[in-house]
């Protein structure tokens, strides 16, 4: 088994609230898994735990056979565990291409260079422009992020995650906030992900989930209540009740 990410019995509380309640899951090479569930179910928290932003109260996380439960978030990134943010996290005063260049340089261990600006590194510029072009963001390359639309910022968030060359990719609602006219760009980006990459996708857009995922996990009040194929999803009574009254 080519398991890349293996999570066992993960638990986490905020105060008295069980936000992650004994969650186990694993992602094999090439897996396309969707994580869905009502708002407040604990999806983002789970990503924060996997990425190392939070420490679990118990349970373990292993990445490519290595136990990373106590490992720093930045070291996990270097191993190829990349996440995107539900609420966009970008540098408002930097340009779109600055973001990509920074990610590329960091990935290659060249971010400590103190003299040559990336503007003089054709290979970095080319790769950054290519990555932007894939999401049709290239016309905005030299724009400051604070000046571009929120939907475009969401696309940039995806572009950054991809350029970091993940082995395991955690996408937290990448399509939220992207206007429907631009959804094709997200769909295309997801379709074109490298085959061997393992992806965990959180999204509320069921069309996107059905198109993308081969496995669906439903989280409710921190616990996994369903695990199966997208086809089995609609007929599951627990899923229906978890979503009752929710505008999923």
């Amino acid at each position: 088994m080519d398991t890349l990410l293996d999570i066992r019995n993960l638990k986490m509380n905020f105060g008295g609230l069980k936000v992650t309640d004994d969650v186990s899951l694993n992602l094999a090479k090439g897996s396309r898994t969707a994580l869905i569930g009502p708002n407040g179910a604990g999806k983002t928290t789970l990503i924060n735990l996997i990425a190392g932003a939070y420490r679990p109260t118990s349970g373990s996380i292993s990445l490519m056979g290595q136990d990373v439960t106590g490992m720093k978030d930045t070291d996990r990134v270097r191993l190829g565990l990349i996440r995107s943010f539900q609420i966009t996290r970008l540098f408002p005063d930097l340009t779109v291409i600055d973001h990509l260049a920074m990610a590329i340089l960091q990935r290659e261990g060249r971010s400590a260079g103190m003299f040559k600006s990336y503007h003089r590194m054709p290979e970095v510029l080319d790769e950054a422009m290519e990555a932007l072009a894939r999401l049709r963001l290239d016309p905005l390359a030299n724009r400051v992020v604070a000046q571009i639309a929120y939907g475009q910022q969401r696309l940039l968030e995806i572009a950054i995650a991809l350029v970091l060359k993940p082995k395991v990719l955690l996408l937290d609602e990448p399509a939220a906030g992207i206007p429907s006219s631009d959804m094709d760009r997200v769909v295309a980006a997801l379709d074109n992900l490298p085959a061997e990459l393992a992806v965990l996708l959180i999204d509320h857009d069921m069309d996107l989930v059905r198109r993308f995922a081969r496995e669906v996990i439903v989280l409710s009040s921190g616990a996994v209540i369903f695990r199966g194929t997208p086809e089995q999803l609609g007929s599951d009574p627990r899923v229906r009740s978890a979503y009752l009254g929710e505008d999923a």
């Binding site: 540098f91 930097l94 260049a101 920074m102 390359a141 970091l164």
Partner: protein, 328 residues
């Protein structure tokens, strides 16, 4: 749309190079102009240049990287006293003294960085103030090496390159200071644009994003603190060499706070702003305090409030805005 096509028509490298060139020429022109217009104020101008190194050094950690500090004179004082003490103990080559001061500054930068970066927000300010106060008190108590509250005076400095004497009018010191500031300003501009500088700017704006790219915030900022310390220490050593005096004010809270005021005054994050802020602020303070010895603090205060209200991005932002209007 016009802005977009403009930026694409001119490659970023050319634009940056042009701006650096203009900046360097401006520094040189103002420097040379001052030399001929104010031949009797050369030592004051040299002090301005020395302090501008402190303010540029502060810009690296505060303006560029977003770390709040009210104790940055710690690195300046380290440089000044290192040069002063070395000089008292027989080192008299000016360039060697500058190097020693810079290295002491670097060390002080690493120490203060290591401590300050452990805190967050207000606690960083408190740590930075505590640090400079402790250093100041330490220097005061260690009078056997530092001269205590009298400081170190009458340092003997060899001629620069064995040729140019540090004369009574301060010409040599002035040219040395101008050259140092010019070189440092251009190098720091390059640094700020480099991958490392860009990372620091990123940390300033969103450190969570930086971590998600896999970069260590702490180590990056500590490195920036070391560089900043080097530059600040160089400034302190320059003042020691130029004035042949080292005093407690070089490592004071007041100097730290004034440096921050000058930085905000000039505009943060662009190096040239730090330079302009120091020059205009100290010149204004100097002239106003001479013209109106009783009311100058009030006038300085009013000026500051006006700047913060009407030019929140400082002098650099103001000049940038003027040029943009002309282009359109």
């Amino acid at each position: 749309m016009t802005a977009l096509s403009q930026t694409r028509a001119i490659p970023a490298t050319t634009r940056h190079g042009l701006r650096d060139l203009i900046g360097a020429c401006a520094i040189l022109a103002v420097g040379v102009g001052c030399f001929f217009l104010f031949p009797n104020n050369l030592s004051f101008l040299t002090i301005i240049l020395s302090i501008s190194l402190l303010v540029m050094s502060l810009d690296l950690v505060t303006g560029v990287s977003g770390v709040a500090t009210l104790g940055h004179a710690f690195v300046y004082g380290a440089g000044a006293y290192a040069a002063g003490i070395a000089s008292v103990n027989g080192v008299s080559d000016p360039l060697l003294l500058l190097l020693l001061g810079s290295l002491a500054g670097l060390l002080a930068g690493v120490v203060s960085g290591a401590l300050i970066l452990k805190g967050h927000g207000l606690s960083q300010l408190v740590i930075s103030i505590a640090l400079v106060q402790l250093a100041s008190e330490g220097v005061n108590k260690a009078s056997f090496v530092t001269g205590g509250s009298d400081g170190l005076a009458g340092l003997t400095i060899d001629p620069l390159f064995g040729i140019f004497e540090f004369d009574l009018w301060g010409r040599t010191a002035f040219w040395l200071a101008l050259a140092v500031v010019l070189v440092v300003a251009v190098l720091l501009r390059i640094l700020v644009r480099s991958p490392f500088g860009m990372m620091c700017r990123g940390i300033h704006q969103d450190r969570v994003r930086v971590r998600a790219m896999g970069a260590s915030v702490y180590l990056t900022l500590l490195k920036m603190y070391a560089i900043s310390g080097f530059v600040g220490g160089l400034g302190g050593a320059l003042q020691a060499v130029a004035t042949q005096v080292v005093g407690l004010d070089s490592v004071s809270f007041t100097t730290s706070a004034e440096a921050l005021v000058m930085l905000i005054f000039g505009g943060t994050g662009h190096i040239f702003g730090a330079l302009a802020g120091t020059f205009v602020f100290m010149w204004f303070e100097h002239s106003v305090s001479a013209a109106s010895p009783f009311h100058w603090l009030i006038l300085v205060g009013i000026l500051l409030i006006l700047v913060v209200l009407f030019a929140p991005k400082g002098i650099y932002g103001l000049v940038g805005r003027l040029f943009q209007h002309k282009e359109v």
